[in-house]
Subunit: 234 residues, 2 copies
DNA sequence: GCCGGTGTTTGCGCCAGCGCAAACACCCCT
DNA sequence: AGGGGTGTTTGCGCTGGCGCAAACACCGGC
């Protein structure tokens, strides 16, 4: 398991840790590859491990009892995920799919208590991650309560692009395949509405679309769309 | 600070702790009262303490940059809240109002690291709380994405009633004052729509309304409403 | 007992966005 | 090169739920 330590040491999940501590933590991890579209873990499944994404992108999907799906979030390189154990849960609350070919580190859940106790900074980083996600999710609820579909999609695009954007000559493009349906499931709308709005924006020169591809050509204009509230101003 | 230890020891926040450990934790806490409608802490404010609700009910409100409000959750007796410190945050992500007269314990944030290290069970309980809230919030996002307003309100009512319901001769009533506006802000709709639906349900004998009061007289019927999906069945 | 404030109900008109449906574009596989 | 599968676009009609507005009920204070 030849891991590039210098690269890994720069990850936020290891910030505040001495090199030797990091080695100790890494020595308990197993590295594995997941092909595009494969499933890393499934909702309701017993949580046996927690993970760190080394490279690629992961789509986290939640399915309701009635069978509806929503995309809870995308995991980016360097992020912890599947950390049910840190929340005292015994099953995963969602399903994780590799959006592209991925490399992940995984630790058995049994290692968590020990790692967390011996390396408080590691535990703290995990808790910080969870806290950040709680806050993001609450923000999402707020957006869904108060904003129009158009603004929600604009916000979602800006968020994705800022976290997983890749600069090209045309603008900033989302560097993993994403369908209109995925965007719809992130924003609580339908792929039709997403498609319509992206088309409209394309006409205005704000984005450029493609099969499983979106490029934001005019982020500033998109921000204006995102902020242009129309509903119950205070 | 004469605290009823036997009562407190039964709280989930202290589960798994020896009596003496509990005493040590409680000895660092300060107890205070908050009158109905007073503010315990405010969004964006620097987080100086974390809290445990001993009695009463607390409404947690999040305000967007544009000034829109949503009710993120209600805190019930025995729950930890304002635990920004456990998430590595330095400010509160929401505002907490006393929905009724409340008694709360509070600890200075500076005590957190120490308490969490010395009494892992206490820390674990806090993290469990956060994890549970993350999951609830994600469920809320899912509901808002896939369900009609009617079902969302039904779900919200059932949730409140199951957590903060008080049995009466008429049915189960929410044992703190809650306005139609509050329910609207929990479910992402308007007080008008909430009022209309409650009226309709009242005609059907499912609930009974009153000023800042809702009593569920037929929980089973309400569950049927909540589950009667009408949108994109799989 | 009256009065003002706050919460609730209800009617009416409208439109954003959904459901349905069909055509289309692109990619990969044989 | 052909063909099928998957993702995208677009038109059309409809409706759930919102905005607006007005009336109403209830409570507490003077």
């Amino acid at each position: 398991m030849p891991l590039d330590r210098s690269l890994i040491s720069s990850l936020p999940a290891f910030s505040g840790l001495a090199g030797e501590d990091m080695d100790a933590i890494l020595s308990r991890a197993r590295s594995s590859r997941f092909a595009k579209d494969s499933e890393i873990f499934a909702q309701e499944e017993e949580a046996k491990s927690f993970f760190l994404l080394l490279s690629g992108h992961i789509r986290v999907v939640r399915t309701s009892a009635e069978g509806h799906q929503v995309v809870a979030r995308y995991i980016n390189e360097g992020e912890l995920f599947g950390i049910a154990v840190a929340m005292g849960k015994t099953t995963y609350p969602a399903t994780a799919f590799a959006a592209v070919d991925c490399v992940v580190l995984s630790w058995p859940n049994s290692a968590w208590a020990d790692l967390q106790a011996r390396f408080p900074a590691f535990g703290a980083n995990a808790y910080r991650t969870i806290g950040a996600r709680l806050q993001e999710t609450q923000t999402q609820v707020m957006e869904m309560s108060t904003q129009q579909v158009e603004q929600r999609i604009a916000h979602a695009l800006l968020r994705i692009v800022s976290q997983s954007g890749r600069k090209t000559s045309e603008g900033i493009e989302i560097d993993f395949p994403i369908t209109r349906q995925d965007i719809a499931e992130m924003t609580g709308t339908t792929l039709h509405t997403v498609s319509r709005l992206l088309s409209a924006w394309e006409d205005q020169g704000i984005v450029r679309g493609g099969r499983q591809k979106v490029t934001v050509t005019d982020p500033h204009a998109l921000m204006l769309v995102a902020e242009n509230r129309r509903k119950k101003p205070v």
